[in-house]
Symmetry: C2
Subunit: 298 residues, 2 copies
Amino acid sequence: MELTFLRWLRERIPTSPNIPLGIGDDCALLAQQSGKQTVVTTDMLMDGTDFILNECGPIAAGRKALAVNLSDLAAMGAKPVAAFVSIAVSKQDGGGQALAMAKGIFEGLLPLADEFDWAIAGGDTNSWNGPLVISVTAIGEVPVGRAWLRSGAQPGDAILVTGNFGRSIAGKHLTFTPRVREALHLQETKTNIHAAIDVSDGLSLDLSRVCSASSCGAQIELAKIPLSPEANWRHALSDGEDFELILAVPPHEAERLLREQPLGTQLTQIGTFTAEQGLKQQLPTGEVLPLEPRGYEH
Amino acid sequence: MELTFLRWLRERIPTSPNIPLGIGDDCALLAQQSGKQTVVTTDMLMDGTDFILNECGPIAAGRKALAVNLSDLAAMGAKPVAAFVSIAVSKQDGGGQALAMAKGIFEGLLPLADEFDWAIAGGDTNSWNGPLVISVTAIGEVPVGRAWLRSGAQPGDAILVTGNFGRSIAGKHLTFTPRVREALHLQETKTNIHAAIDVSDGLSLDLSRVCSASSCGAQIELAKIPLSPEANWRHALSDGEDFELILAVPPHEAERLLREQPLGTQLTQIGTFTAEQGLKQQLPTGEVLPLEPRGYEH
């Protein structure tokens, strides 16, 4: 199956000046440049855990597998350069079905590569008797010192978020747009971002990870959290797979961003990082209570 | 499981000057340098296809998953920098077993990282109801223009191979040493290597891939092929998973290498690249016949 599939795939992959050698050799070659750092992330998605193949089909599964990795690159403020896509498709229903499945997965993810002007540069195509597994490694680049780490948040920084939260399982987890454009705009305009993370496991859980890495706390105002349709605060705080960005932004820069809204995607301040450790929530009544971080634990 | 596992893992991973940021953020950061290229390869290994977990155990499975990727880096003449290891372990037998399985896999692969002075810089740890899957992406580097491509072989080049061939399934496929040291030695001594590939699918099949990429042919002498114990020529030509290197080397350089044997690992000339397309085999009788490339087709 692999040879037929690779012939099909190569016709669909554009060349990229950053990729001197793509699919077809033992390894791919990517350009290096002093003053830049390579940014690498990887995620493995499995049928029955990250998607239900029988319900969503291979196109949506493939798209999600690439999109979650793009979301991680965006959370570092990195520009995508290349992705490597390994799959194990089920051969229970014969070779033809396996080939169709492999093509479907790539039909789902190739548009995301085109959209962001980078390329699939390699991978590994397998068939087996188990359920579908898709493992993607995404590689990006960032100027030295400009990557947004989890560890840079400072007390007093505004907690800004892109988009809406909660009930991603109703569909958004398969169709979301990773915030690559937004991240690149903030980088290109040299916006001062102290820290960032993408919300994969839950707004409160991922916010707590920034706090831990930055040795600070955070207080959020429940009424400020932008809710997805049919989502309540509990959904928004703990559902996961929103794939929106949480940004730690110094107050003056945050004021400007909130006023100018330069991203196309709505930016909202939901709270402030604090010197005191731990998460707190301000209820609509004004009462301030501790907030237990919750979300998807792997 | 992931948090407990990551705590365990972080204590076992050395820091590396080439990896400014490793496990623990959304992405890892790797240094870039002008004059270098990044070399990337990825392989997904599945229980029942690439190893039989019940027979070999997690340590051997983890070792193999990293080793096959190191073999690809060696085949490009690249120095290993970082690896990213994603796993899906079976949770059928409870969380404790899944954690023990994850630890076993890394106990198998971490010594290979130590041995070659690089580091695990990220990954994704999952449990599910399916069989074990291990997906590794290995990243290396090479000076610009020094990567060994499949496409550089020239008629008249000697076909040199490292080690022995055939019957890898008897054990070597789990215990082989990827030829990283050998590749780095050849690079450091500026040896003129025109093309290279590692034998993952079969000596004749992988040789035919070099020929296709280089638009040339090859004639090999059966009696010259170094055989593994209990292997015959048929095994040697088509068994696969030898993970030895095939090198295309200009005649004078080849003579020197064969005389000096500088690698520790035996180098053998098994034939010559030819202007005429296709593979040929010279039998011990002197007769020359066409050779059909055979091996493992994915």
